[in-house]
Amino acid sequence: MTSFAKPHINLKHAKRNALGLTRHDYEGAMSTLCAGCGHDSVTACMAKAFFELSIEPHRAVKISGIGCSSKTTAYFLSESHGNNTVHGRMPSVATGAAAANAGLTYIGVSGDGDSLSIGLGQFAHAIRRNVNMLYMLENNGVYGLTKGQFSASADIGSKSKKGEVNLSPPIDPVTLALSLGATFVARAFSGDREQLVPLIKAGLKHNGFGLIDVISPCVSFNDHVGSTKSYAHTYKYYHPAVHADYVPMSEEIKTSYAAGEAVPVELHDGGSIVLRKLDEDYDPRDRGAAYAQIAERDAKGEIVTGLLYIDESREDMAAMNKLTSRPLNTFPYDELCPGSDALTALQKGFR
């Protein structure tokens, strides 16, 4: 909702990134979400991460579905193209866009309703295809925009604002993604920007589908006592297991890490994601173990966060399709059309 313009004033001494841009250059229209909504915190983290990575805003593309969360693509990076599509089907639009031009940075923003009910199929299949994008799932356990129905991520026993108790087992995006072969799986909390900003940077730099499931409380419909997605509940039970940050190629990784303490994962672009284990026995490189650990702690009500799994070895969609590195949307026509002679020649086979 860009109907209210946010005044855009760059402070003279504001910090500038490698492109000479300030934080303000990464902002968007004024948010129309409820005051205090977790999604607004996530939006701020997005802007910060892009700023710190010095990504040119117009070389980024924001795609979303429908929901309060999906609206937020309008509230950061006003110089990026945005596409606020239809409910639950952002992944397919992002997939098509990424096919057309693999040279831009793709961010998908969605909600738990958008991704886990109507959009479950597309979410799962974008993971399978390993589309090169950052997928932010702003998870509040409810349908915010339609006023508070349970979503599929609501936990068993969690209470709605009206007092109803959810009985169906939740779909956990993290374990689901792991079981579908996802290559970058993280969980975070909108209330912890120190953790989230570096995760976003790592996700943006990961080559393939990067999922960040952010618990992002809905203050209007799911922030009451009895809700397991409330701010208070999440604050109490979330547990950072693995910290991750992106280190560009230019910055040499200076420290040499003690074994089991921090590990650099080398990226496509020469940079690295540095993993710092806060839980010694958590291994974000072993899918099976990660799954088991998360499942076990989930069962105890603990919310394990951080970069829970990473695999830089798998090909992304572009590579699996042997896509040329030149964007398909800029190919000159004469390289695409085989021409009349070829047409004459091939028709010999039709006689």
């Binding site: 860009t2 599509t85 089907r89 190919f331």
Partner: protein, 608 residues
């Protein structure tokens, strides 16, 4: 309705082959047809197959037509009855005086049921069992054996068939010998036991010189390559699957860098049609030429996204290879019953551009046109083919491509143009034609805008304001109307000898049947003007044509007279002028059907 009356003759008859699905008959039958084509004699082939992989009945019909007609006639002059399950019905279909060929290995009651046809038994199974060892060969070779027998009876040049066999199995030389042997078995048997050739038979002509035999899906896939399409997303569905198969094949031929092996195309098998169309939305929005082939159920599922593309003004090319509805219907039979849905797909006020190819040649050209129109008008464009066009091999003029042709990418601003703007307004009618300028992601910071399916104003900003909302909605209709003169123009065939009182309107795969019916009617003294519609929205020409006649028959392959409905909704033509002539059995339309109906109507008018 009566059966057709004309008797078969040299280069003028119909062979029908009744087979069991999954027994390899389709390729043998295709080969038979192609051999006639190579003898310079025009042919029409229709493959009627079941929704099944193995076991259910299937038919192949080959019309030999020296006169070069393109439709089924409605006759059956020779029946090759290979399916015991459909004997009764197959034999009944043969015209009096026709020829029945059957496998005389076993005694068959049914073949005796008619005394007015010539029954020729060939012990196909027996001969093949004797000649071949492997079980699968025994089944497959029966097909080549009857091809041999038919060749003898119709004096088809066996050398032509042999060449075709060699080409077909170029990569599997072992199979060449087997097939040659089977061919000879049938040929020799027929020569020995029957008086060959029959009175109706094939004689060399020179009428197929600049022609090819191609199916519409292959041609459409090729058209997408020539149009410069780079992204194709789809979900498998009969009968559109082979369109994407073709696109893939041509891309592999033309679009892989021989050095690096890199592809400059991307084909994505989506998880369903909701995703397939979403991928096309994403790719088109991002500036690639993108498309999806599907059929009726797919369009139903795509409806919501189609409305999004309409309202957010994103180019979209959809091929709907129509099959028989409603619902799953008869997925391997033909119909034109998605016309109305495609014209207005999605909720709210929406209207789309439709193209109606009549044969594979137009599948090729209209595929290219569709991308130009979609990008020019920034809107969904449907190419409405059907299973008859899409999956049957048609004889058409050799395809041509004008190397000077450049794609019309529509109003897309490049970086320089954006740079020179004060401000970019995504949905403003700058030129007065209802078409606004668009920008592509990544081009220029000033070109960025926010695409949305929710209410927006001329600047692209969110709005819930009545006037701003309406401004955009009103422009959309203006834009759409503007396309009327840019879709492929209708083609008119005037009656010989001046002004006809009556006219015919048709579109798509009904064309050939109507053309032939016009000739037959003319021969009987009933002269009709004929207009073939090729696009929607309709240009004024369409109304003018109808208004110039007392009555116009609107020939369609659906129950509800859907195109006539569009004429009622979108033109000022009085209802009474438009007489529906509807065929919706699922079989390709015959010229006989059209002819009879119009003749009846004429008779009734006279007697009234």
């Amino acid at each position: 309705m009566s059966t057709p009356k004309s008797t078969p003759g040299i280069n003028d008859f119909v062979i029908k082959l009744a087979n069991v699905n999954g027994t390899g008959s389709a390729s043998a039958n295709g080969l038979l047809m192609k051999s006639i084509f190579r003898m310079g004699v025009p042919v029409v082939g229709k493959n009627v197959f079941p929704s099944n992989i193995q076991g259910l009945p299937t038919w192949y019909e080959i019309r030999v037509t020296g006169a070069g007609y393109g439709a089924r006639s409605g006759n059956v002059d020779m029946m090759v009855a290979m399916n015991a399950n459909t004997y009764a019905r197959d034999i009944a279909e043969l015209r009096p005086g026709g020829v029945l060929i059957y496998d005389s290995t076993w005694p068959r009651q049914h073949v005796l049921s008619r005394t007015d046809v010539t029954v020729l038994g060939v012990p196909l199974a027996q001969m093949c069992n004797a000649a071949f060892k492997v079980a699968r060969s025994r089944v497959l070779m029966k097909n080549m054996a009857y091809v041999g027998a038919v060749a003898a009876l119709l004096s088809i040049d066996v050398e032509v068939i042999r060449t075709l066999v060699r080409e077909m199995f170029a990569k599997k030389p072992k199979l060449v010998d087997l097939n040659m042997q089977a061919l000879a078995l049938g040929y020799d048997y027929a020569m020995e036991h029957f008086e060959c050739p029959l009175p109706f038979k094939v004689e060399r002509l020179n009428e197929t010189k600049n022609k090819i035999m191609i199916d519409g899906n292959t041609a459409a896939g090729l058209g997408c390559v020539y149009a410069g399409a780079t992204v194709g997303a789809w979900y498998p569905i009969t009968p559109s699957t082979s369109l994407m198969d073709a696109f893939k094949k041509w891309c592999e031929k033309f679009r892989i860098d021989p050095k690096t092996g890199e592809h400059n195309y991307c084909i994505i098998q989506a998880e369903d049609e909701l995703a397939a169309v979403g991928m096309v939305v994403g790719a088109s929005w991002n500036g690639a030429r993108a498309f999806t082939p599907t059929s009726g159920p797919g369009i139903s599922l795509m409806s919501e996204f189609i409305g999004f593309a309409y309202y957010a003004e994103i180019p979209l090319v959809l091929f709907d290879v129509q099959r028989v509805g409603p619902s799953t219907g008869m997925p391997t039979r033909t119909q034109q019953a998605d016309v109305q849905m495609c014209a207005y797909a999605s909720h709210g006020d929406t209207r789309h551009i439709l193209l109606f190819p009549a044969h594979p040649g137009e599948c090729f050209t209209m595929a290219a046109d569709a991308f130009d129109l979609a990008e020019r008008y920034q809107t969904p464009v449907f190419v409405l083919s059907d299973i008859d066009i899409g999956m049957n091999d048609w004889m058409v003029d050799e395809l041509e491509w004008d190397d000077a042709r450049q794609p019309d990418r529509g109003k897309v601003l490049n970086a320089e143009q954006i740079e020179s703007l004060e401000q970019f307004h995504r949905y403003k009618d700058v030129d007065g034609d209802g078409i606004a300028y668009r920008t592509l992601p990544g081009t220029h910071p000033k070109g960025a805008y926010f695409t949305r399916g929710s209410g927006h104003n001329a600047d692209g900003n969110y709005t819930e304001n009545e006037a701003e909302y309406q401004e955009v909605l009103d422009r959309l209709v203006r834009k759409w109307r503007g396309a009327a003169d840019h879709v492929p123009a209708p083609i008119v065939k005037k009656a010989k000898g001046g002004k006809a009182r009556w006219g015919i309107l048709a579109y798509g795969s009904s064309d050939c049947a109507v053309l032939e019916a016009c000739d037959t009617l003319a021969a009987e003294g009933l002269h009709m003007d004929y207009m073939r519609i090729r696009g929607f929205p309709f240009s004024d020409e369409v109304s003018d044509f109808v208004m110039a006649h007392d009555h116009v028959f609107v020939v369609e392959q659906n129950r509800d007279a859907q195109l006539r409905g569009l004429l009622l909704l979108e033109t000022q033509i009085p209802r009474a002028k438009l007489l529906p002539l509807l065929h919706y059995s699922g079989e390709p339309l015959t010229s006989h059907f059209v002819h009879e109906h119009i003749k009846d109507a004429a008779r009734q008018e006279k007697s009234a």
